[in-house]
């Protein structure tokens, strides 16, 4: 099955964008994620986590993210996060993914510049998403075409 990836301008540059729905209990919502093969982990953006009311207290602390703008960012780990993807033929598929999320409550109580910066960062689909879900990424920039496909 194929899942279309949009090539669109996000934050001033052309990016690969995947539309997703959160089906996580009490944290439903829709969001876009940038496919970032330079990131080993999938990261839910701080702004998206606030929009979807992620209950941070429920999840364990994880490793800090660095190389992520200003300093290092504390995170929590969500081992099972249910999302829906839309296939190119108009069906939906559910995936249980793992991700890290900037620890918004900790950031709120810390340096405001770091927190504000974290809020500008989008959700990123990392290599773990592609590997664990056995998805092949095809990118053809000259013809403005990109998709994920089950392997």
């Amino acid at each position: 099955m194929k899942y279309l990836v949009l090539i669109r301008e996000v934050q001033g540059a052309k990016r690969l964008v995947l539309s997703l729905l959160s089906r996580q209990p009490r944290s439903f919502g829709s969001f876009e994620a940038i496919i970032d093969t330079g990131s080993p982990r999938t990261v839910l953006g701080a702004a998206d986590s606030i929009r979807m009311a992620i209950p941070f207290g429920k999840y364990p602390q994880s490793k800090s993210l660095s190389g992520f703008g200003k300093g290092s960012v504390p995170t929590v780990e969500i081992g099972n996060f249910l999302v829906a993807l839309k296939s190119a033929d108009g069906n939906s598929k559910y995936l249980d993914i793992s991700l890290v999320v900037p620890d918004v409550p900790s950031l709120r109580n810390g340096d405001q510049n770091t927190f504000n910066h974290a809020l500008t960062l989008p959700t990123l689909i990392g290599m773990d998403f592609l590997e664990k879900n056995r998805l092949k990424l095809v990118v053809n920039l000259p013809e403005n075409e990109s998709y994920l496909e089950d392997v």
């Binding site: 949009l6 669109r8 301008e9 996000v10 934050q11 001033g12 540059a13 964008v17 539309s19 729905l21 959160s22 089906r23 944290s27 439903f28 919502g29 829709s30 969001f31 876009e32 940038i34 970032d36 330079g38 990131s39 701080a46 702004a47 606030i50 929009r51 979807m52 009311a53 992520f68 829906a84 839309k86 108009g90 069906n91 939906s92 504000n116 809020l119 500008t120 960062l121 989008p122 990123l124």
Partner: protein
């Protein structure tokens, strides 16, 4: 949840996304360094702070989990992740 409801939610998301794509240049001129909220192919709020923006959307009685929020960088700024 029915597949048709899920697909309808995707449609709303894609409509917002397409609206942002079409207007990217205008937004970068009008709203550099700001967060914008897009709903129903309209910019419904603009703020310097993301949390203030989210609060504003809540005050409009909209479901914030379905509103697209995007940070518009300053002109010439390239954001790397």
């Amino acid at each position: 949840m029915e597949n048709s409801e899920v697909l309808q939610e995707f449609k709303v998301l894609e409509t917002g996304s397409s609206y942002i794509t079409k207007n990217a240049k205008i937004f970068s001129e009008k709203y550099p360094g700001k967060f914008i909220a897009v709903w129903d192919s309209k910019v419904i709020a603009v703020e310097s702070g993301c949390e203030v923006l989210i609060e504003k959307i809540r005050q409009m009685n909209l479901d914030v989990s379905k509103v697209l929020i995007e940070y518009i960088p300053f002109k010439g700024q390239i954001i790397l992740y």
